[in-house]
Symmetry: C2
Subunit: 212 residues, 2 copies
Amino acid sequence: MYKTDRSVCMMKEKANLKDRIIEESLKLFSVKGYTSTSTMDIIEAVGASKGGFYNHFKSKEQLFREMLSAARKIWRERNLYQLDEEPRPLLKIQKLLENYRDRYLADSKNFPGGCIFVNLAVELSDQAPGLAKEVSTGFTRLGRMIKRLLDDEKKAGGLGKNVNTEDVSNMIFSGLLGACVLYTSDKSKKRLNSTITSLISYLHSIDSKGRV
Amino acid sequence: MYKTDRSVCMMKEKANLKDRIIEESLKLFSVKGYTSTSTMDIIEAVGASKGGFYNHFKSKEQLFREMLSAARKIWRERNLYQLDEEPRPLLKIQKLLENYRDRYLADSKNFPGGCIFVNLAVELSDQAPGLAKEVSTGFTRLGRMIKRLLDDEKKAGGLGKNVNTEDVSNMIFSGLLGACVLYTSDKSKKRLNSTITSLISYLHSIDSKGRV
């Protein structure tokens, strides 16, 4: 279909506005929380009009879902970075832990409030359980991914027969979330590093192929 | 000093009002968060007057501090329950983990929103860093307590020489906080139990005196 320069330009602007609203809501929800952030706060922060906002989002809830999806995309980009270059599943988990520390929590541009998933899960659990559940599915997926990697490592002979992958996965996964809460509360990179280093040492200790 | 029945009665009522305000703020801050709860919300929930509130608290911040102190008292009552009856430091940590699961997170009467310290630390980190820091000192103390117990156990010969108590303490402590975030987000006692059981198994695995 033929489009004039002007209509192409307007479409681009529209797409940009949508992206900018999502980007801004991600920051505001992360810092102020979902409940304390009104759609007007977002509209004003972006410099849009009410009409411009509702052209793209039927409701604050719809924006929440699209924001969640965008935040997950960033999460994957940061945390799964170069995982496929690691030859062993155990090394993939180690890389995930390092990425979480160096490429994710450190990203104060996109996530000035720390890990937005932890923040929202804690905030929404009582106030909007439906939305909290959507956040929580991400945790479940991450827990399963760690478990699957450990099972793969065990199958490949990289873990002793007495290693319970359910236990190890619980330790790594809850340790990661705990590290995030601590970092959010005190912004201490030293403490974050200490916790992540301990989780990695733990991985080393169960590795039957020698130091990972 | 001589007091009439009436003045004694009024003093009691005053004390009760203060306690009720603290109790109610603990619940509201836990569920709705500190920022989203106004002093008027608390006054209305208690059924007091503005004057009654300001008789006891100069500001919302002062109430926050007294609430924090009350919450810590409950935390200690629940989590340190019967710890002194355990003969070994390692068993005290196990008991702490069990208390955290059975006597603390399960207390939906006092803490309907999950662990108030995790909730407030996450909420306030960007909005009121000074208050978040006060919350965070409690985490630091808990981390140190676990580390100290592990050091005592090691001195008593209950841990192998190659066990790094800093690492173990990081694992247990961050695992505990992570378990709390997970439980807050999905209220699944099954998952909570699974995580706490894994943390206890981990303690067993480093115990050089056999199964704790």
